[in-house]
């Protein structure tokens, strides 16, 4: 392999010696370990590691590396994945009417803030076509109705497959995806919900927040699961509001939080910082990278 940064994500039953065994495995093969982050869930007796390697100077092939790694991984019951950092991920963004997250993601992607190729934007409305066009990203208008829901979803899936999409970002896409769809893209759909979950799950969170008279308004980025708004939370944040804040004000203040939270979550995902375990997302912090 040429000089590049390889990231392994590992989860397994906890036991003595894991960090020594794993780091020795890579050291013996001449890799420089750039960072090695661990998390032990003592309640569930599980172990998690994110390890980043500089492979400069090693001439092992990917397939040999993975074959050898299995001799370590199998006896220790690893669930693992590896990212060689040599392929930029393909991303699809799904939207409905609201433009702020779309602008934000397209700008970051264009300016190098998100390491991905946004291949297309899909919407059930035509309203935001101009935004995609400003950034020269193909825009697909696929209207949806109760009757055409499954057909529309089939069209979406065709587009995703044709574009080799690795990650789907629901950037205020106001439609519920079918279980089948979500299961086929398990761990690869990130949704932004416009409340600090589990508060205000479901529809119209800003209006309900106004009605409840809250003093904080927030947003949550999470992996989509069958159970709506109950998937593993990647990031969330809030801002202070007060009695003067109408629903409209809450939407405006919330929009800025939605942008930051979704962009951070997408960055964590693209940067291989996340391991999902059950309904929890272990999000390792960046390490000066």
């Amino acid at each position: 392999m040429n000089s590049q940064i390889v990231t392994f994500l590992i989860q397994c039953p906890d036991q003595k010696g894991l960090v020594a065994k794993i780091t020795s495995f890579f050291f013996e093969r001449g890799f420089n370990i750039l960072s090695c982050q661990q998390y032990v869930n003592a309640l569930e007796n599980t172990y998690f590691m994110r390890i980043r390697l500089n492979t400069e100077g090693s001439d092992i092939s990917k397939s040999n590396l993975e074959e050898e790694f299995l001799t370590l991984a199998n006896p220790l019951e690893f669930k693992w994945s590896v990212n060689y950092g040599d392929e930029i991920q393909n991303v699809a963004i799904m939207v409905s009417h609201t433009s702020h997250n779309l602008y934000d993601l397209l700008e970051r992607s264009k300016e190098g803030g998100l390491n991905c190729n946004v291949k297309l934007v899909i919407s059930n409305h035509n309203k935001l076509r101009y935004v995609a066009e400003m950034f020269n990203i193909p825009f697909y208008h696929l209207p949806i109705s109760k009757e055409t829901k499954l057909q529309q979803e089939a069209q979406v899936r065709d587009l995703l497959e044709a574009n080799n999409i690795d990650l789907i970002i629901m950037a205020r896409y106001m439609q519920v995806l079918s279980s089948g769809f979500i299961n086929d893209y398990q761990g690869r759909i990130i949704n932004i919900h416009h409340s600090s979950l589990p508060a205000f799950q479901g529809a119209n969170p800003y209006e309900r927040a106004y009605q409840r008279g809250v003093k904080l308004i927030g947003a949550t980025a999470h992996y989509a699961t069958e159970d709506l708004d109950k998937g593993p939370i990647i990031d969330q944040d809030v801002k202070h509001v007060n009695h003067e804040s109408t629903t409209k004000t809450l939407k405006r203040i919330g929009a800025d939080t939605e942008k930051l939270v979704l962009a951070r979550a997408v960055k964590y995902h693209l940067n291989n910082q996340i391991i999902v375990s059950g309904n929890r997302a272990i999000v390792f912090p960046e390490t000066g990278e």
Copy 2:
């Protein structure tokens, strides 16, 4: 009246001329208006004012002032209250096992951070007696069981009446008060809930937050109402947490937020900054006071 600061809190149907009429009323009587804060709820067509006056140099009596004010208030359908700032409010603190809010309130009260007399601490356990004693505050241990609930509450009420209590602070009192009790002290019971409501209403919010894998942990101070954890929110705040945060960690991080949020809410109340309207608390900010 001697020189002192008088605060009027007013709510009424909105209409033209309110601020001019109210401020002229006080100006004509020689008062200096220190601050005049308004809020118009356009949805409900209601108007709210907090007005602070320096009565120095005026020789009108309280009863005359109130009588004259009625000639303004009645035709305009004011609901109003006045605080002359000459009586420090009497406060009762109710606790169970957890000491951090109790320490915090007693310290602030002792050191001048909360303008009130903490007259007594009531608990269904004896555990925190030593804290009250450190601050020389009478401590009453009134145990409670399913069978004795109403009797215990009667004892509590006797103590509150005997001490002329104006405000009850539920500083992690882990018992549900009866509807009768709450109604008799409507708008005068502040509770701290250890989550950012409406998330995790009810019992064990920290454990449920851990289970849900949240990335924020918070606290909410609200007026107690019959509907548990659904009263008007006075203040709330959160802190960032991560996958390393166990339930124990969440409790520790949350405790600091609980302290700040409850102390702020109590200060707003004692300082006559709050008007409750339906299920919403209008909390006027301090004005350099």
Copy 3:
């Protein structure tokens, strides 16, 4: 006047009766007062008011209104301004190499988040032309060198005058403006500084923040004054960072704060929420508007 929202900003020596006199003035002329915000600086004995009126149903002309207002304003020594809300302000954005604030301002302006006409973008480099073009905003490349500084500034001033610019936003424009320029646009130039002032005034704040080992990184929006980075602060904010944060990381994290802080400051200015007094900016909060 047709139905519209008029905002008066007033500062004057403090004295009894100001709010009553001012609000009565408007009430007697049939205006509905939408909000009336005050601030008294007791140290300096000065009074500040922001008052918003709905002029629906009044047939007074602007010139008559202002003439009559002078009969109130002159004896009370008001410094005042009025905005009739019928003219959208013209804005010029000045940039150098960094794109994030430019994108953010253009997007907000285009999508209705900032109530202004961005008439042009001026830069001492050609690098960000494509961003202006994406939003169809004229871009002027006016290079600068030590020798050409005054000539370039003259060109800038010509462009500002030709476009009737009301507000200049220095959105990471890395040049010091001359005193003459700043004085001619006093109170109409908003700059974003990439630190939480007064920390790290001057050049390279992110590098110096890294060197100092700070745990917070911030940004400050302020009015430009002759004394660099010492003008009245409109808004500022910070984010937590840690030892892993390199200068590059600080720049990335700081960029998001810069965007939010500058956009809020511009909104406060456009929305007539700010009164400058000496080196302090009184920023009245929005009132549900």
Copy 4:
């Protein structure tokens, strides 16, 4: 050794294989690695590790462990320390007039929030004696004047030595310690400064913050060094303020931040989470501990 948690803190020149070598060293001796945190400063080519071990089941003595560890440490040029978690640290708190940090530290210490023995409180004034007495902590009043500065410091040092003090907390002690004193307790004096450094170094930060018209007010906990207010920053935080905030308000809002920031910094220190390198404090986050 009986079952206990041992923490090693290590810094050394960066090179390949460090994590593998260190973790293998402990694994081969039968220790369970509870957490292993690293940081590489690529600019300075330095490596930092915090590693926590459960020594249950190992019968190696401390001296043998350290002797063996040297065979690893010396060739790799480690600067290192080890904490066996079997001795609670002795703490001295120094104060002047301001009580909030003192209350906070004493409460946390008493209630188990800080794992230390507060052995004494030293003050140049007698004012806060009652606070120490509430918590049954010896209080020493050692007045200071220009003439008696060195004598007073000698008295302080006698008390510190007599009480085997490991950590000195300057909880708003308004005196500058001599260079000699600071050098003898290098890395063992934590100070709270009432601003977000490097803003408002030196005296009267709240007054200067008011004068500057800031919109944020903060606090910084740092190790004391000869260069006043320039020591390695452990933690810092801020709160939003506005034009209504007088110096008195800033003090009140800042006090809450001072309490949280100092308590966190002390906890990080007591919990062996900090490695100082030059003027930077590497603060490893807690790992579910």
